[in-house]
């Protein structure tokens, strides 16, 4: 359609309410945060400009370690989410009796208030009374209680798994929808040519899901990067800071220690990293997606 002035104005009128809303409620606090990051704002009544001191302080500390950990944590979580979600979607896409019920049964982690889901996982991870440690002992796989949140490595994985659990329903749903968008005749053609179920999955389903996977992993990346409640409720970033990610560190600095200035600087950094990461990710995956995957 021609770019008429009237249509452009109309488009803006349509956009205006949402734009205004988001500007006021999100963008304004954002700018506030950005400004804050150059001050020494704290509980004190007076705040002063400190230039880039907050940023310098961040990089003088152990923040590099936190950044690396955040990326590792996020990468594993997103990857596992995608794998389990796609696997689940594949299973639920099979035309077997009970399919509708099974689909409904995948939704609860999404519906339940996050804190409750996390408490339930907390129970499962409990070394003395929890299901996992208990089952493992009952089956004789370990000989004493194992407190999963007590040790750096197990706590790291425990928080990832909980995050995966919360994110999987959305991934499953989306991948399921994308699978159903693949024309049935492609499968029939492949079947006619003798391709078995697994071969069809590998050569047709999987490659055709790539665009959907890119989109979904992207969205899930942003959410995972900012995943706060899970770690906070399960470990508060411990033990020994082994589950401290950027968002945990930011919250602890800003809300915990009331160093609003330093916290804001961390928040700004998160955004910058995330943006760079997203752009890079998009570039790479799109290049990959354009080749044939055999």
């Amino acid at each position: 359609m021609g770019v008429r002035r009237s249509t452009v104005i109309f488009a803006w009128i349509l956009l205006l309410p949402a734009v205004l809303y988001v500007t006021v409620i999100v963008a304004y606090p954002l700018v506030d945060t950005f400004v804050l990051s150059f001050t020494n704002a704290s509980l004190k009544k007076t705040t002063n400009w400190v230039g880039t001191a907050n940023y310098e302080k961040i990089f003088n500390g152990t923040f590099a370690e936190v950044i690396v950990r955040t990326f590792v944590w996020t990468t594993f979580s997103v990857a596992i989410k995608m794998i389990i979600g796609t696997f689940g979607a594949l299973m639920l896409n099979a035309a077997v009796p009970g399919r509708a019920l099974f689909r409904v049964l995948t939704m609860p982690p999404w519906i339940v208030p996050m804190a409750i889901g996390i408490f339930m996982w907390g129970w499962m991870y409990n070394g003395q009374f929890g299901m996992i440690s208990g089952m493992l002992q009952n089956w004789g796989l370990v000989d004493g209680p194992v407190a999963f949140l007590a040790h750096g490595s197990t706590a790291f994985w425990a928080t990832i798994i909980t995050d995966v659990w919360i994110g999987v329903p959305m991934v499953t749903l989306y991948m399921l929808a994308s699978m159903q968008a693949i024309p049935q005749d492609l499968y029939e053609a492949a079947w006619t040519d003798g391709a078995g179920r697994f071969y069809r999955f590998r050569r047709i389903t999987l490659p055709l899901l790539v665009p959907a996977m890119i989109t979904m992993s992207m969205l899930s990346l942003i959410a995972t990067f900012n995943s706060f409640d899970i770690i906070w409720i399960l470990t508060q970033g411990g033990p020994n800071g082994d589950t401290t990610t950027m968002i945990i560190d930011t919250y602890r600095t800003a809300i915990g220690s009331k160093k609003y200035g330093e916290g804001a600087a961390r928040a700004v950094l998160i955004c910058i990293f995330l943006s760079i990461f997203c752009v890079a990710y998009f570039r790479v995956t799109h290049r990959l997606a354009s080749g044939e995957h055999r």
Binding site: T106, A115, I116, W121, M131, G263
Partner: protein
Amino acid sequence: MSQPAMINRYRWYELIGIYAGIFLFLSFILAPFVEGFLVSLKPLSLLFSSPYRFWPENGSFEAYRTMWVSVPGFARYIFNSFLISTVVTVVVLLLVVPSAYAFARFKFRGSAALLAAFLAVNMFSGAVLLIPLFRLMRSLGVLNTYFAMIVPGVAFLIPSAIWLLRTYMMRIPRELDEAALVDGASHIYTLCRVILPIAMPGIAVVAITTFIGSYAQQFIFALTFNSKTEYMPLPIGLYAYFGRQEVVWNELMAASFVGIAPAVIVIFYLQRYLVSGLTAGAVKQ
């Protein structure tokens, strides 16, 4: 329904494989709920006892009764959650439907950048912006009202809703707009009479996801921006089961199950709609 197409006939070992896969997958999804459910059945005194026994001894549904007694306002919390989520959903739809249409239909300078900016909002979790948001809420004068939870809730749900609905609307043939335009309909008339009814499945999906997002996500805003017990939503209400010394775990879990039941029922009836609505909006090949 008739018998499944030939291609979907499974041999016995394939069936076993699929059901095993589903079982594995659902085990992961539901295990915490099983744990939570078992906890809700155990008397508080027996909760912390080892060795671990899967089936609770003396299990009872007592907690499902006492939860109403020990937190008398619980029904109110569920109601609040419903009310807040409903209002949030309505407001999000009111804001998002026109914008999604604009993004789907009109290319103008800055439209791509604006869309990216909307998505960027997703990169901020509310936790980071809490203090500035608080100041804002105060100057808007909405602290300690339902709006304290509705206003920020809406803002953080807008971006993904726009994204979802825009994809859906792009699949509606452009000729429909043009035909209406040729027939003299204004843009608004076209949107209301032509596009909206056709986009209904997509709008329904957006409504469901928004509703659930807000139903489960109301924690941090509610906590900080509202002090009135009578306005508290479900997630905060559940914290009422945390005592000074003791968390009343069995009632907490019972309350969680009761609290999510309405949303589960909604999903149960809408799941087919949800999947197909997403399909239409899914990435095109």
